[in-house]
Symmetry: C2
Subunit: 404 residues, 2 copies
């Protein structure tokens, strides 16, 4: 019996660690022969673009580099599987590829769209009585998958965001004039990553002084009055704002602002919430203000990954193989937290359909009543996930990466 | 005899290491009593806002944290000293503060404006026959100070830029569709930091595929044809562009684009070159494109500083004290490179007036004739500066910083 693994959705620092975990558990098992890696997610299965992972991952050195390489080494895709009735040919193409290569287990590392694929494919195999197991491995910096306490990739992104906002805070404090700094973080719907900026408080920092998540209604006037209030206490006010904050009417807060602007080519100009709030502060307060977008660095800064995150991502990849060997299919592996201090968890499996097409939001009870900060309970949840480092393997002063 | 030290200009990852170097050499000397740190550059001298550094820096632990803390721990300022004739009172206020505290040596860590202050103050003391030595310690991520091979702060910024562009390259390569990624780096006039993105080639990477510096005339049409050409060879084209690239008429390349836009409040909207080129690619090529601004992270990411840079910054701070003890004044300390491989340099002193108010540009012979890349000679210059790491001191999963 052979197995296949693929990576899907937006890249993270930990998705390659899960690939390593699948490979390692597969190598250990007597029942498993070849371990195929599919290029560009499910597309590689459909088009039969695969690699025998033992060709490149058999050395410990390469596994070590893979753990330290951001983004999806096998490539990714954004393809969502249609319902079987809509396009049976895709299902057949996938199954033919599996049969051609004697693949009886397929592991899909990804977010909720990928779990939708796991749910659909496994349902199809159940209905057709085809013995191919399909198991999902969670991955997303957004931390918004249902059925798991947290998602591989999130811890590293959280650590980067927290450390970077701390460094930006140092940078913002050098001049004697009052200033406002707005840091825009990823998260269209869920505020987990923005909340992670608060981790710098674990070491007694007062910043970030204001934190705005998509889970709480955003109001520009309230924001300005919050900032004015904080300026009484702090010379350099630091705000962490999720790209996805919305006003009471459900629209993204920067939407009106964006829609009234076009660029030199007449295109709608999509600036983010940070730039919007920078202009708002400039207009309403008139002090020195700047906005900073953490952009893709949030998800690809492997040089400062969380060791906990990388190790968990690796472990949950291996656990997926073990679950399939036990006969499980149509499931996503997840973390069940047992305690915060000491940090303890177990790896469980949940129906993939539970994670597919749903989102897990930042709990309202972890947002302060004013909607501009997070609580200590949130910090207790976040703290274990950012522990430890995995220093890069350096050569010529630069981190080394693994590439197929 | 006491001495004083101050930090000025834009923050870097290494400016605190130079502060540590001044403190350490000052502590070692039998001739020196107290070592004062002035808050917010020369402003702290004018307003007599100083701290006795031995109160906070006497422990090895705190020196260790100071070396790992980005930005100017004593605060900074942007104040340029007027000519003596224009405002003698400022000169007198500075001198009174020095005399009040028995300060006979003043060390100013900063860029060319700070070296201008060093030159003016030392000339004033020479003319008035006042025995106060004034010595400059270079600092700038822009690496554009004359009189030194390179500037403390640049190596760490260069290492961050190179490693981050490498991570962004991994991130950009995951999808099968062709794409263009534009990374905007700091440098209004000099292209050193943008060139540093090329360091990833030291390990055999092909990216960044295009590099544009302010030292070469920029042309939007040529840029588009360069990108089209690179798209034939690479699925994901990565471009590093300096914020300061200018067109043949001497204007910033994004200037026209910026000036025809106003935001919702009617303000001119200052987007950078990255966003401009993103829109240009979208309009002229129509492929997936994104722009990323490395923003202040370039200068404050101490968690990934270059050990060479930090050690050199510390050494040149100490060398400044030794130079003043030898009787030197009105000078800036600088590095004179003896060889690239093995990397050897010596610390020299040059007239501060040489560094003041002038800029050292990226050599034209290190730019390829087409103006869209750098040469191997440039890489040989850059490579020694990014060597080594100084891992943060961690607590609760977060780097610890020093704060006064």
């Amino acid at each position: 019996m052979n197995i296949a693994v693929a990576q899907s959705g937006g890249p993270t620092c930990a998705i390659n660690a899960s690939l390593a975990g699948v490979f390692e558990a597969g190598t250990k098992s007597q029942e498993i022969g070849k371990i195929y890696g599919s290029f560009n997610g499910i597309e590689g299965i459909i088009n039969d673009r695969m690699t025998d992972l033992s060709d490149s991952l058999s050395s410990e050195e390469n596994i070590g580099l893979l753990l330290r390489t951001p983004s999806a080494a096998l490539g990714s895709c954004r393809r969502k599987l249609p319902e079987y009735e809509e396009d049976p040919e895709i299902y057949e193409a996938i199954t033919e590829c599996f049969k051609r290569h004697d693949i009886e287990m397929f592991f899909y590392i990804g977010g909720n769209d990928s779990m939708d694929t796991v749910a659909k494919l496994s349902r199809y195999y159940a209905e057709k009585s085809i013995d191919i197991k399909v198991v999902g491995v969670p991955k997303t910096i957004d931390n918004d998958l249902c059925g798991t306490d947290h998602c591989p990739g999130f811890g590293s992104a959280a650590k980067y965001v927290a450390a970077t906002v701390q460094e930006i805070t140092r940078d913002s404090n050098v001049y004697s004039a009052p200033s406002v700094t707005i840091v825009e973080t990823m998260g269209r719907h869920a505020g987990w990553l923005t909340a992670a900026a608060g981790c710098m408080r674990l070491n007694g920092e007062s910043a970030p002084h204001l934190i705005y998540l998509p889970e709480h209604v955003f109001c520009g006037e309230k924001f300005i009055s919050d900032v004015k209030e904080m300026m009484k206490k702090h010379k350099a006010v630091i705000c962490a704002v999720s790209e996805g904050v919305r006003t009471a009417d459900g629209k993204f807060a920067a939407e009106d602002y964006q829609s009234c602007k076009t660029d030199a080519f007449g295109h709608a100009y999509l600036s983010g919430i940070g730039k919007y709030l920078e202009n708002l502060v400039s207009e309403k307060i008139g002090c020195k203000v700047r906005s900073i977008e953490l952009n893709v660095m949030q998800r690809c800064s492997s040089h400062f990954a969380s060791l906990t995150d990388i190790e968990e991502a690796q472990a949950i990849g291996s656990a997926a193989v073990e679950a399939a060997l036990r006969g499980e299919t149509g499931v996503m592996m997840g973390f069940k937290r047992i305690s915060d201090t000491p940090y303890k968890y177990e790896i469980v499996s949940v129906p993939a359909s539970e994670a597919a097409n749903s989102e897990r939001f930042f709990p309202n009870e972890w947002i302060t009543p004013e909607g501009n900060d997070i609580t200590n309970d949130a910090l207790e949840y976040l703290m274990p996930l950012i522990q430890g480092e995995l220093p890069p393997v350096m050569k010529n002063g630069m981190p080394q990466h693994f590439q197929f």
